[in-house]
């Protein structure tokens, strides 16, 4: 290629490059650099502390709590939303009366903003008159405050995530199921292969690429989706629903300890990278790509 074409090519790339660098790459690098400095104050400029911010984390009980909470939250929401979405996909991957209505119903939570979803669930959980409490009262159980109790709040928040995510993942599983040719099912039926055996020996391996894709997304979302925490609990009660990303937000934009927030962000990105890459390497051997 001659010089002119090169210049042309770079000029064409420039607008996208400017935005990408300004809003993605530069902040990422600055975050990494900031995490090795203290937060600058009016009286005292930022000083280099090396791994100081990271050392601080190990002694920060709220950070430890946030890490534990995030781990529990991920351990619940990832498998639960994947299993639920697969079950829903299998349910609507057939033809019966009202199947499109059912698919739509399953998908609706995806369309709703998470803020709105959180408000709906706040009503479900509301002690005394909420949906769940009304059912509890009918069957004779005492009123419960799921969101307000430290021992149940995290699970209450996790339930909202599962409800919100399963419908979205279902679409991917449904698409995957529909690429499995009907003749495979018929060939298996002639061989005397039952439904469960077919699912285990054929369906499951064939949708593995989708399962991998969905699980990577589920992992990212488990750390990324915290909108409902803002609406429902604000990390409380007593940090019971303090998730890593919410803690970063609080540290950075409520307490304005931006350097510590930057260090926390680096930790979050490190976790996501390790898990994401690990998933690919682990699963790659077991995934059949067409």
């Amino acid at each position: 290629m001659n010089r002119r074409t090169w210049i042309h090519a770079w000029l064409m790339l420039l607008p996208a490059f400017v935005f990408l660098i300004a809003f993605t790459h530069l902040p990422a690098v600055t975050t990494l650099i900031d995490s090795f400095w203290t937060t600058g104050k009016g009286r005292r400029a930022a000083v280099f502390t090396g791994l100081g911010n990271y050392r601080k984390m190990l002694e920060d009980p709220i950070f430890i709590k946030a890490m534990v909470n995030s781990a529990v939250y991920a351990a619940i929401t990832i498998p639960a939303s994947i299993l639920l979405s697969l079950a829903m996909a299998l349910l609507v991957h057939r033809s019966f009366r009202g199947v499109s209505l059912m698919r739509m119903a399953f998908f609706t939570p995806t369309v709703l903003p998470l803020i709105a979803v959180a408000n709906i669930w706040l009503f479900f959980y509301a002690p005394g008159f909420g949906l769940i409490d009304q059912i509890r009262l009918v069957v004779g159980l005492p009123s419960a405050n799921y969101v307000g109790q430290p021992d149940t709040a995290l699970y209450a928040v996790a339930a909202v995530t599962i409800w919100k995510e399963a419908g979205f993942f279902m679409i991917f599983f449904l698409a995957a199921l529909q690429t499995i040719p009907q003749s495979l099912r018929e060939a298996a039926a002639i061989e005397g292969c039952g439904r469960w055996t077919f699912f285990r020996l054929v369906t499951l391996p064939l949708i593995m690429p989708t399962t991998l894709f969905v699980s990577v997304n589920a992992v990212i979302n488990a750390f990324r989706l915290v909108d409902h925490v803002f609406v429902m609990t604000k990390g409380g009660p007593d940090s019971a629903t303090m998730l890593l990303l919410y803690y970063i937000f609080e540290t950075g934009f409520r307490f304005w300890d931006t350097a510590y927030a930057a260090a926390l962000t680096v930790v979050l990105i490190a976790i996501l990278s390790v898990v994401g890459i690990g998933q690919f390497f682990l699963a790659d051997r077991r995934v059949h790509y067409k």
Binding site: P181, L184, E186, A187, A188, A189, I190, E191, G192, L201
Partner: protein, 360 residues
């Protein structure tokens, strides 16, 4: 295995899709150890009939018996049959080996037995070197063999095949025809084979079931179907080019053709026509040279027809007298399209088939 005994009986079977009948009151019996071919154009109901036999679909009315027992409502796996699909239906994530023994595995056949049978079948199909491959790493012909191996290893007496050769190229298809027939003969399988390709039907079948618009037009050996088509449809469907049909008025009164006014049709194969000294005068329209012979298009009294002449003979002049082999003529009722068997010559001399120049 002796042949002759009815293995699969189809009794007054209909299959409606909504208000349209894919199969309309079909009855036929397929014999044990025979290669039966369901032949017909697209949409004639042949695949539907195969799926009913397999149990992948249920008939609207009528009964299907396999080995004498009514299989209505019986699951496909309990019908003691295997099936080869048009798309081969191989499991893409399993190796050739796993594909072949899939059925034995889900039926809980012991591993030693599985491997023993696999060795035999893989050797028979020439797959021994390919057992570790995935279907995507195989050619079309090899995939076809795997599908066939999967059917053979089941050791079930009936094998259903749904256009198994239609995805192969012409050369491979010709080889597979011979091979399929050899396997069927060697194992004494009762094969029900669906195709729209008459060459496949003619070369492999013991018995051809010609179907059209959800009905059976004719059941017979390839010779019978070719030489003595039971209906105008069969006459026009079998043979390339198909049988010529002349209004009886053109030939009336000669060679046992009843003098008529056009209520009957005289059917003659292109190779049963020749240039004669005397006869009805035909007008030459064109000549197609095929190497071994020439296909001559001509017109006789408003009816276009084709005759086959050896290429060694000189092409016919612009106008020529048409002669024909009367013992090979077929007479049809023009209104019903049915063969008028009363006019058949007593001893049918089977026409020599020659498919060498036909396109597959």
């Amino acid at each position: 295995m002796q042949t002759g005994q009815a293995q699969i009986q189809i009794e007054n079977v209909s299959r409606l899709f909504g208000s349209t009948a894919a199969l309309d009151d079909v009855s036929v019996s397929l014999r044990k150890g025979e290669f039966s071919v369901l032949l017909g154009p697209s949409g004639c109901g042949k695949s539907t009939l195969l799926r009913l036999i397999a149990g992948l679909d249920a008939q609207t009315s009528g009964a299907i018996r396999i080995g004498g027992a009514d299989v209505g409502g019986k699951a496909p796996s309990l019908r003691e049959l295997s099936m080869v699909f048009q798309s081969y239906a191989l499991f893409p994530h399993l190796t050739v080996l796993e594909n072949i023994v899939f059925g034995l595995r889900v039926r809980g056949v012991a591993k030693a037995e599985r491997m023993k049978r696999l060795d035999t079948v893989a050797a028979m199909m020439g797959l021994s070197q390919l057992l570790a491959r995935k279907p995507s790493e195989l050619s079309g012909g090899q995939q076809q063999r795997v599908a066939l191996a999967r059917a053979v290893i089941s050791e079930r007496p009936i094998c259903l095949m749904d256009e198994p050769l239609s995805n192969l190229d012409a050369k491979l298809r010709a080889d597979m025809r011979v091979e399929l027939r050899a396997i069927q003969q060697a194992l004494g399988l009762t094969v029900v084979y669906v195709t729209h390709d008459q060459i496949e039907a003619m070369t492999m079948a013991d018995r051809i079931i010609v179907m059209n618009a959800g009905r059976i037009e004719q059941v017979g050996t390839p010779e019978e179907v070719y030489a003595r088509p039971a209906t105008v449809f069969t006459a026009g469907f079998i043979g390339t080019p198909p049988m010529n049909l002349f209004p009886v008025a053109l030939f009336g009164g000669r060679h046992g053709v009843p003098p008529g006014t056009g209520k009957h049709l005289v059917g003659l194969r292109p190779e049963d026509l020749f240039l004669a000294e005397t006869g009805p005068e035909a007008e030459l329209r064109g000549v197609e040279y095929l190497g071994a012979d020439r296909l001559v298009s001509a017109r006789l009294g408003g009816t276009d027809f084709i005759l086959r002449l050896p290429a060694s003979a000189a092409p016919p002049p612009a106008r020529f007298a048409l002669g024909w082999a009367p013992e090979r003529q077929s007479l049809f009722d023009a209104a019903s399209g049915q063969r008028l068997a009363g006019f058949d010559f007593a001893s049918p001399s089977p026409t020599k088939k020659d498919f060498t120049h036909e396109t597959a």
